[in-house]
């Protein structure tokens, strides 16, 4: 309403008054220009989110899909979910996976952003050209490449370590239940790091160089300059990265599919893999699958609310 009054003062409003007869009002224009987006988003985002909730409270399996009738099941799907040790394991694994990848990404992103920010070092320019590369790799291809890297028999990583004389026996990186979950974090970090580096690098450009010069005059060491100038000024962007990357890491799927398919045993079952396998592989229990996806959505939803309320700068 405030913006309406403000626009009255502008010449465009006067001109708009003159053409009022043949031009749509601002309100109708806004509605019409948003109609395609709203229709698409209602169909693909809003309705499915509602419908996933609906499915999670109904019995939906192969038989029900054929008849098209989904009997009401109350909280049955959720009860079965929390009875299922595999689901608890998948959630635990997701938390571990997320904690490792997000922590590593923030640390690496700050370190590499500082590195490519060095002006007089020619190798930093090479690194700067390369940081976007992982963003261009399809996640499923990335997963497959790393399954070749990790392969016990023919793996590329073992070959390199043999050639460097670091190992004498092959290591079963992704095939060992004790290390598999950690093994799948590396490809994920590799692929999603560019985004975090870019954001930190952009934030570094905004720091006033005079601050560092003043600190150097005062005799601050490089570590003190980082600790007391750079890090506090990077804090807002680090929080943004933490929230965004945490919620995306919760839904990791492609690398799991390509490298371990949840295995060995069930060592790398994560939340999205659980929803996928429960719904689209035997026993095709879409009701329970929806319930598990909804739990995932609720967790991620909490992060989304924090992000919108406190971090995202609106147009004002």
């Amino acid at each position: 309403m405030v913006s309406n009054k403000a626009s009255l003062a502008r010449p465009e409003a006067v001109a708009a008054g003159a053409r009022a007869g043949r031009e749509l009002s601002r309100g109708w224009l806004a509605v019409l220009m948003n109609t395609p987006s709203l229709v698409m988003m209602a169909l693909v985002l809003a309705y499915p989110i509602y419908y996933a909730g609906y499915l999670s409270f109904h019995k939906v399996g192969i038989g029900q899909l054929r008849t098209g009738e989904f009997p009401f099941a109350g909280f049955d799907n959720y009860l079965r979910l929390f009875d299922d040790q595999l689901f608890t394991l998948a959630l635990t694994n997701t938390f571990i996976f997320t904690a490792i990848t997000v922590t590593a990404e923030v640390v690496l992103a700050v370190a590499i952003a500082l590195l490519i920010n060095q002006q007089g070092i020619w190798t930093s320019r090479v690194t700067r050209v390369l940081i976007l590369l992982p963003y261009a790799i399809p996640p499923i291809a990335n997963g497959l490449i790393w399954s070749f890297m990790y392969s016990f028999q023919f793996g590329f990583l073992n070959r390199i370590l043999f050639s460097l004389g670091i190992i004498s026996e092959p290591i079963n990186w992704a095939g060992n239940p004790d290390t598999a979950l950690y093994a799948v974090t590396v490809p994920y970090i590799w692929r999603t790091l560019p985004f975090a580096i870019l954001l930190v690098h952009a934030a570094l450009q905004g720091i006033d160089k005079a601050l560092y010069e003043a600190a150097a005059v005062d005799g601050a060491t490089a570590w003190q300059r980082f600790r007391h100038i750079t890090l506090p000024l990077l804090r807002p962007i680090i929080v943004v990265i933490l929230v965004l990357r945490t919620s995306f890491a919760f839904a990791v799927f492609e690398e799991i599919l390509a490298i371990t398919q949840g295995g060995p045993g069930d060592a790398t079952w994560v939340a999205a893999w659980y929803s996928y396998k429960t719904s689209f592989a035997p026993p095709f229990n879409i009701g329970v699958g929806s319930a598990s996806a909804y739990v995932l959505a609720l967790i991620v939803g909490l992060f989304a609310i924090v992000y919108v309320r406190f971090l995202y700068r609106r147009i004002t």
């Binding site: 698409m40 169909l43 693909v44 002006q119 399809p138 590329f156 996806a293």
Partner: protein
């Protein structure tokens, strides 16, 4: 500026070398894996470089399995989906281009109204877009599968395009809205005094001025669509509608694992998006930071 000491310089160079090695390692693996035969892979499992190089993996993929080349002469089994390369490449291109065009068209109209018209419901709409960015695809896929099954949209490129467009629209709006907001209104005002309506001023003045923003958004939309696996994987089961990521995923857990063939098809699938990103690096950087921090 502060000059690093000689020791610090050596340390910085080493850190750069380590970073570069980390970024290039998987690409090195995919290239070396793609240009050798299975026999070479098995000959010495401790050597980085194969005893001999060959392009036969690409030959068998690009000829649709017609020409096997020397290294596959003895091989009786080849994964069927390898033969679908051209079809999948075409499907991926159609999907990625359609989604890019649709998200740019619909997204720019929405982003323009958010940046210029400022109704309260548009602010709420913008917040909804931010929340929508967080929705994991798997949450949407189960209900979409059931809905599309009853709507007859399974096994079609249309279904995939519709689903991806709706899923990506919030992101496109988040990238474009700050861009439109940064364009001065004066030119639009001038055009309106000359008789343009608000909508024609948007089409003739604002959109042409926003080419860099549209490029930034477009390249990101194209890359995400080119990469997307879950949507086509769940909605389409027939080979003729497979996209490249689905073909690649179908090789996982196949009866026989040909790492050399897998690496060759991965290399062919990642080349278009790598070339695009390297060519349009500036726009990718702009779009990624615009979509994350401003709006």
């Amino acid at each position: 500026m502060l000059k690093p000491s000689p020791i610090a310089r050596i340390f910085l160079h080493l850190a750069n070398v380590a970073t570069i090695a980390f970024f290039l390692l998987p690409l090195f693996a995919v290239v070396i894996g793609a240009i050798q035969s299975e026999k070479s892979l098995q000959a010495d499992t401790r050597a980085v470089f194969p005893p001999e190089y060959t392009l036969d993996n690409f030959l068998v993929i690009l000829s649709g399995g017609e020409q096997k080349g020397a290294i596959f002469e003895q091989v009786t089994y080849l994964p069927d989906n390898i033969k679908q390369f051209y079809r999948a490449f075409l499907n991926s291109t159609v999907v990625a281009l359609s989604v890019t065009a649709l998200t740019l068209a619909f997204g720019s109209m929405s982003a323009y109204t958010v940046a210029r018209l400022r109704f309260r419901w548009l602010i709420v709409f913008m917040q909804a877009n931010v929340v929508a960015r967080f929705v994991p695809i798997i949450v949407l896929m189960i209900p979409l599968y059931v809905t599309f099954r009853f709507g007859g949209l399974l096994n079609s490129l249309t279904g995939v395009i519709v689903a991806l467009t709706g899923f990506l629209l919030p992101y496109a709006i988040l990238i474009l809205a700050p861009y439109f907001d940064s364009i001065p209104r004066d030119l639009e005002d001038a055009a309106r005094i000359d008789g343009c309506t608000r909508f024609t001023a948007f089409l003739r003045i604002t959109l042409p001025l926003s080419t860099p923003g549209l490029a930034a958004c477009g390249v990101i939309m194209f890359i995400i669509s080119w990469h997307e696996l879950l949507i086509p994987l769940i909605l389409n089961s027939k080979t003729e509608f497979m996209t490249l990521p689905v073909v690649i995923a179908s090789l996982v857990g196949d009866v026989h694992v040909f790492f050399n063939l897998m690496m060759a098809i991965c290399l062919l699938a990642l080349l278009p998006s790598v070339i695009l990103v390297l060519m349009l690096q500036k726009f990718v950087v702009q779009g990624l930071s615009a979509g994350a921090i401003k709006g």
